[in-house]
Symmetry: C2
Subunit: 433 residues, 2 copies
């Protein structure tokens, strides 16, 4: 239903980038000087796209081009090139609400499927920093602000429903990347899919989850919620590899998985990766934090993130004065109704929390028993240690899915982490936890 | 986001219809003979469109044209003409699953926004028949089959999610008619909207519902579900005026409100109109049914409808052998999981039931305290009697919204109907019912 690249489409190489930018005067002016003075680096880090950083005398730019295939796999794995359009659409849509938490886009080329955006420096990829034990205290605060604003302002709580429908007409065409999410997050880990990557020590865990009908029932509810709960525009891939940070600036990148879906998905995805970092931390080199173990900071950040998300989401809602169909002012304007509205708001956020827990469990499981694993664990060279760290995270994820009633608030979630730390490689023994 | 009519668009009149059909050879052949032998009648009955019936020597046709405004209101109320496209898309999409329960479409003209379809004769509009006390025993059976097939086969239970996304990309543009539904069903009745039509005797009821924060909270949940629960392709206006029937044939017409929404909406809408017929029945002329009061047949039909819907929905699901993302075979193939799947199926249908009860309550309220009222009540000339019939239905609807836990199954719903029959015009006295 979407066009592929035209015959005018060409894959950029590092040597072409300067010429491309020189042809666009505002971009060339941003860099300054002459093209011969520009330095270009190929920095592709994710799995999908080409990414170049270009520096000129006056400034830098980031050039991201979608390829008609998955970059790390090559032409044998074709991939919808329109993902560049969806990333551009996502960023444009959210810009009024999230300020500089998304990188500024200077140019979108719908023929070359190129996005030229702000070059972020000296930002680091959060995942790498977390593996090194470097704490970024702004991140949970900033990501909470980002997800709260995106979840509120693109929902039916903040606009006539026609606005969300216009978004749905766009993002419901983003099926190629959604197929990746649905398969890798919600289907493959519970099957013997060929692309699953399961370390030998975790085979009993993979088998236990594949044979656990209670668990697969809970995963089915989460999957159905992902497919049918059209609450707001979500990032869809908000893990620690999609966050660039300095000590006082945070940016969310890589919005190509954008989707109208449950608001709890981004919330759960972010927390999931902090939880995996928590389980991995004892096996990483000692962190340089002087006063406190890095994992305690990670646990505290999870609480901060949720509390800030909740407070800001509710804050946006309470402050909202516009027309919206979710809870129209004409129904909830008088004193009695506006007091009830506060109860309804809290119930709405509690529902996001409950969805988030199920999604975060699915995200942990897919990162350990599925195709695209995370460096938090893969960087642990001792395979026995790595499996133990992963087993702890798996045991926790399973408990979230089997016993959601035990996790009524974020404090209960974080307090439970140590209970699963030594779950070990024999999953049936710890199923009651 | 959608184009209006082009300069080539012309509003058909009864005298143009023959010339239009004569220009389309397959349609002319269907009628047979010469255009001079064709008889055309203007039979517009609904509020929105032009409808003509044309008879020729060999057969008849129904010609429906969308106007750029609401027919009964005239040009002062503009209305998206693309509703003809959405009705055509709805019918085409469902045809493989519902057989002849939808009228056959012979021709769609995307310039004139004309649908030429099967002429249904000697079918009557079900609402009129019900007011006259004429029972159509096939209707609940056929409508149940229709809604079950549409709800199952257009959901993520019966196809890869990309199929529903393609539907969403189409129907998420059908916002003009959704605006009518959202306003008239979920918003206006709980406000002092100018277009509400409230009989003087029901002013206390209108005030009571407007001031009932518990009720407005329940309506908000239903409204949010309508806006966010993208389960399947729904008709969106499945009342007894959208059903043409004979004693052995049933057709569902007027799919222009089509929408990807909660499967419980059509279920609840259909039942709501049977319930209103039940409350209205004592004030209609004596029914010709020899053995049983007509309202008892209506009550029995509600049970039949739900039971058939449930059985057929589950039946489609159990028989389904294709690929689908909701409950993939790779998760639920073995014996233990397939037994659990049956539990999950029942939970899915129970969720549709629970949604349906909230929607049906909203539908009853909007038909009594809102803009587009129904002949079931309006045909009761004695205004005191009419208000008492309406008050009973309102009291029942309120109870469904306030005390959903009392209505666990369809038997409980039907058994409760008499409890509200004499609720009367003082709503606070009966709020506990």
């Amino acid at each position: 239903m979407l066009d592929g690249p035209s015959t005018d489409y060409h894959i950029l190489t590092a040597s072409d980038v300067s010429a491309y930018l020189a042809n666009h005067s505002t971009l060339a002016e941003h860099l300054g000087g002459l093209p011969s003075e520009w330095a270009c680096r190929d920095v592709a880090d994710g799995n999908l796209n080409s990414v170049f950083l270009i520096d000129g005398p006056d400034g830098g730019l980031c050039v991201k081009q979608a390829l008609p295939y998955v970059r790390v796999a090559g032409e044998s794995w074709p991939m919808d090139i329109n993902r560049a359009f969806f990333e551009y659409s996502y960023t444009s849509r959210l810009e009024p609400f999230v300020g500089t938490l998304l990188p500024k886009i200077y140019h979108f080329d719908e023929v070359q499927f190129i996005i030229v955006m702000e070059k972020l420096e000296p930002h680091v990829i959060l995942r790498k920093a977390m593996i090194e034990g470097i704490h970024h205290p702004r991140v949970p605060i900033d990501v909470a602000a980002f997800v709260a604003a995106a979840s509120f302002y693109t929902s039916d709580l903040a606009a006539p429903f026609e606005v969300k429908c216009a978004d749905q007409a766009i993002f419901s065409r983003n099926v190629a990347l959604q197929r990746i999410s649905v398969d890798l997050v919600f289907i493959d880990p519970y099957t013997s899919a060929l692309r699953n990557v399961i370390s030998e020590r975790l085979v009993p865990w993979a088998a236990a989850l594949r044979n656990d009908v209670d668990l697969k029932g809970a995963v089915a509810r989460a999957r159905i919620a992902y497919l049918t709960k059209a609450q707001s525009l979500i990032h869809g891939d908000l893990h620690t590899g999609s966050i660039l940070a300095t000590q006082d600036d945070t940016r969310i990148i890589d919005g190509e998985f954008a989707w109208i879906g449950p608001s709890g998905f981004d919330v759960g995805n972010f927390i999931a990766h902090y939880i995996m970092a928590w389980y991995a931390e004892p096996f990483h080199p000692a962190a340089p934090e002087p006063d406190r173990r890095f994992r305690d900071l990670v646990a505290a950040d999870i609480v901060i993130f949720w509390q800030r998300f909740e407070a800001q989401f509710l804050g946006h809602w309470r402050a909202f004065k516009g027309e919206a169909d979710g809870f129209p002012a004409s129904h909830f304007g008088d004193a009695a109704a506006s007091s009830r509205l506060e109860t309804l708001r809290r119930a709405y956020v509690a529902d996001i929390f409950s969805d988030a827990l199920a999604f975060l469990a699915c995200k942990i499981i897919r990162r350990i028993l599925g195709f695209a694993q995370v460096a938090d664990f893969l960087s642990i060279d001792d395979l026995e240690a790595r499996s133990h760290a992963q087993a702890g995270a798996l045991a926790f994820a399973r408990s979230l899915l089997l016993y959601p009633e035990r996790y009524r608030d974020i404090a209960a979630v974080v307090a439970a982490l140590p209970r699963f730390e030594n779950a070990g490689l024999f999953p049936t023994e710890t199923r009651h936890l």
